[in-house]
Structures are given as C-alpha cells and as structure tokens.
C-alpha cells in the first residue's frame, strides 16, 4: 500500500485544485492507500517517519523537489521506495524520471517500476537533484517568494535585474577527490546528480556514482539576467564554463557562503559534498531520461 504525503504549499497550492480528481483516479487504479497532509516546515519528515513506523513500503510525494528532499532525508536507510506526483514549482527529479503531470504519475505508480538512483550528501543531509553555490541561490529565494505570492512576475523581473547588476563573484577553492584543486572566481557553482540542470551534460546519469560539477566563472549583466530567467545556453559560452566529475569535493571560500540542495538552503562553506553510500529506490516511467 502507498502512503501519500500531500504538501499543500507546493507549487503555490496546485494540488488543491485537483485533489479530489487525483484521489478518484488513484482509487480507480486500486492504489489509493493512505493520505496525509503536511501543515508546515518539518512536517513532511514527521509524516514520512509515521509511514515507516506503520510499515508502508512506498511513500509518495505529492509536491516538488523540496518535498522530496524532506522525504528522502527521513527515509534514510529504511527499505522504502519513493513515488512522485509532481505538484511543485520545481519538479526536476520527476522530469528526469519521465513523470511530467499528475495523471501520468498515477499510471506510473500503478505500474510500479522501481529503479535505484544515487544520492548526494552535504554534511549529514541527502539530496537527489543538485547542490548550488552562488547566483542560483538568489534565484531560488526569488522563486520561493513567487510561490508564496509575495512576488509577482513584474516584481521577479525587477529583482532579477537588480540582482544581476549588483552581483559579485565568489572566490572558491575546490578540492576534487583529493586529486586536484581548482581556484577561481565563480558566478555559480553546481554539483548535479544527473542531467538535472539544463547546462549539465546529457551524458550525466543519476546512476553513475558520480557528481557533475559545473562552474560558471563570470557572466555579464545581460547573460546573468538570461541565466536567471533560465534561457541562457551555457554551451555557447566557451571558456566561461568548466565541467568536472567527482565523487567527493571539499569547497572553501574566504567568507562563508550558503549552499543549497534540491532548491533549499542547507549549509554554508566550508563544506564537503559527496556521493552517498545510500541509494534511493524510486518509481520511474519507462520514458525516464537515463
């Protein structure tokens, strides 16, 4: 049986519009299970623990990457699979798994094809999509404000222009697997567990036991705005982008800078990020991108 954790805040309350239809469809497929609704920060983890205690072998995130992040950290070493009904404003993992909308997600859950994917580890926190330092984290903050309704489209663009104009690069020192080190000024640095971000090489797989590091050294104002809008093609910026592959990286900076994972701020530099020994069992589509 499936345990569904609904995050009503995901995607600006997207779930509230389709909740009844969703439950009807799950009943039709015979996988209705038990539903629980989170009520605030930390509640998703508490509900996941409750599902594990009750003996559920599948926890389904009805939300986005942030909801999934809380669930995978609560699952830990338990033999529990993750299912996804994408309802977030960011659904990177669901997209990678070939799950693009809720109706399709219901059919995929019923078919229950399970794959194991890698997990990243920042200090003691797991993540499944990507970790970032730099401009990404400003954008994540603005998108959170958009979700809560405190920032409209016009406000987002105004803030983006201001952020792109004022942004100062960060000087980072990166040590890769203890084999080589890199020193550079950085506009943005990401570590991805697969081709989750549009600038991660498509060869990157969430089952290769590697993290793909993408370093954007410098962007001018115009490119920074395009980057923030998600329309910049970094493959057309040769020399400004570096790509490395690693199992473990130590990141240091002169002053502490925040590190996000799955779109949430989780740590500050200095920090070590690595591929975790733990794997995530996840229900996937036949049309997954790996």
């Amino acid at each position: 049986m499936y345990y569904y954790i609904i995050n009503p805040a995901s995607g600006g309350g997207k779930i509230n519009k389709v909740q009844d239809k969703l439950k009807d469809r799950l009943r039709e497929l015979g996988i209705a299970g038990e539903f629980a609704k989170s009520t605030g920060p930390g509640d998703v983890a508490r509900l996941t623990q409750m599902a594990i205690d009750k003996g559920y072998k599948t926890v389904v995130a009805v939300g986005g990457d942030g909801t999934i992040n809380e669930i995978i950290n609560a699952i830990g070493d338990h033999n529990v699979a993750l299912g996804i009904i994408p309802m977030g404003s960011s659904n990177e993992l669901a997209n990678m798994l070939g799950i693009t909308e809720w109706q399709m997600a219901c059919n995929i859950l019923a078919a229950r094809k399970v794959e194991e994917v890698d997990l990243g580890l920042i200090n003691d926190k797991l993540f499944v999509t990507a970790a970032s330092i730099g401009f990404d984290n400003i954008i994540f903050g603005m998108k959170r404000s958009q979700r809560t309704g405190s920032l409209g489209r016009f406000g987002f663009m105004t803030k983006l222009y201001a952020a792109a104009k004022a942004y100062k690069t960060i000087h980072l020192e990166l040590n890769f697997d203890g084999k080589f080190s890199v020193e550079t000024d950085c506009f943005n640095f990401s570590l991805s567990n697969g081709a989750f971000l549009n600038y991660i090489p498509q060869k990157s797989k969430p089952q290769d036991n590697m993290l793909d590091a993408v370093l954007v050294s410098h962007l001018n104002f115009r490119d920074a705005v395009s980057y923030g809008k998600g329309t910049l093609d970094l493959s057309k910026k040769p020399g400004q982008v570096s790509v490395f592959h690693t199992k473990k990286i130590k990141i240091t900076s002169k002053d502490p800078v925040v590190v996000s994972a799955d779109g949430k701020i989780v740590a500050e530099t200095p920090v070590t990020i690595e591929v975790s020994d733990r794997k995530l069992k996840v229900i996937v589509s036949k049309k997954r991108h790996f």
Binding site: K179, L215, S242
Partner: protein, 144 residues
C-alpha cells in the same frame, strides 16, 4: 579555435572542461575528452582527446590518445595516436606521437619521438628557423 580544423581530431563534447579563468593544480585524470582553456599545473592523463585552447597555459606532462595544442605547454606530451600543434601552439618539452602534425608558425622546443611502427625514411621534417625563437622542428605538412 584552430586555423586548419581538418587537421585535428574531432573532440565532440568534452567531458571535462577547464575554463579560461580557472587555475587547476594536481592530476587531472579522465577516461573521456578534456578541454583546457585555463591554467593547469600538474599532470593531465586521459584515454581520450586533450584539447588545449589558445589561451591555455599548461605546466604539466600530458598523456592522452590524441592531443590538440593551440595554447602553451611546458612539459612532455605523449599522444598514443595523434598530436597536432596548431599555428598558435607552443610546446617547451619533449613530444611523442604516432601521428604528428605541426603547423607553420607553431613553436616547439624539445625532442620529438615517433612510434616504432613508423618507418624512418617516410618522415621528412623541414626545419624553419624563426627570428628570436627556439623552434627546432616545424614541418609544413602532416607526416605519418
């Protein structure tokens, strides 16, 4: 990046890329292709192709299947298959390759060794001396 593109082995999308402003120290080892546009101090090793861009500054030994050099290398370069030194390329060190291509205008200071299966009489190296340079060998065409 290179004047005579047809002389170079296509790299495709490099798996490892060192950007222009990046300074890397240590051993950069990969199974795939490596492109360097920044600085590397240490060693570069791959089973694939290493492409060294015109702005790159390498103080390292390079060992790869194919090596394309348009920047500066201070160190020994071993290409198990093909080594191409373009017009803007500079190598201060010994080179070894199965197939060697050096464009006019390139600077190479060191010893060159061809693979044993290449018969010596077929190699015709033309020596051109440039003003204020230490060019030792600058063949005009690719020889195998």
């Amino acid at each position: 990046m290179f004047e005579k593109k047809d002389e170079f082995v296509s790299t495709g999308a490099a798996e490892t890329v060192v950007g222009t402003s990046v300074k890397l120290k240590g051993t950069l080892k990969s199974d795939g292709d490596i492109t360097v546009d920044g600085s590397v101090n240490g060693e570069i090793k791959t089973k694939g192709t290493v492409t060294i861009g015109p702005n790159a500054n390498i103080i390292a030994n390079v060992h790869a299947k194919n090596v394309n050099i348009a920047g500066t290398v201070q160190g020994n370069v071993v290409a198990t298959d093909r080594l191409s030194l373009s017009e803007s390329g500079r190598v201060y060190g010994d080179i070894s390759a199965n197939i060697l291509s050096i464009s006019a205008g390139a600077l190479f200071s060191g010893k060159s060794t061809m693979a044993e299966n290449v018969r010596e009489p077929e190699i015709e190296l033309t020596v051109e001396k440039e003003e204020e340079s230490t060019v030792e060998e600058v063949p005009e065409t690719t020889k195998k």
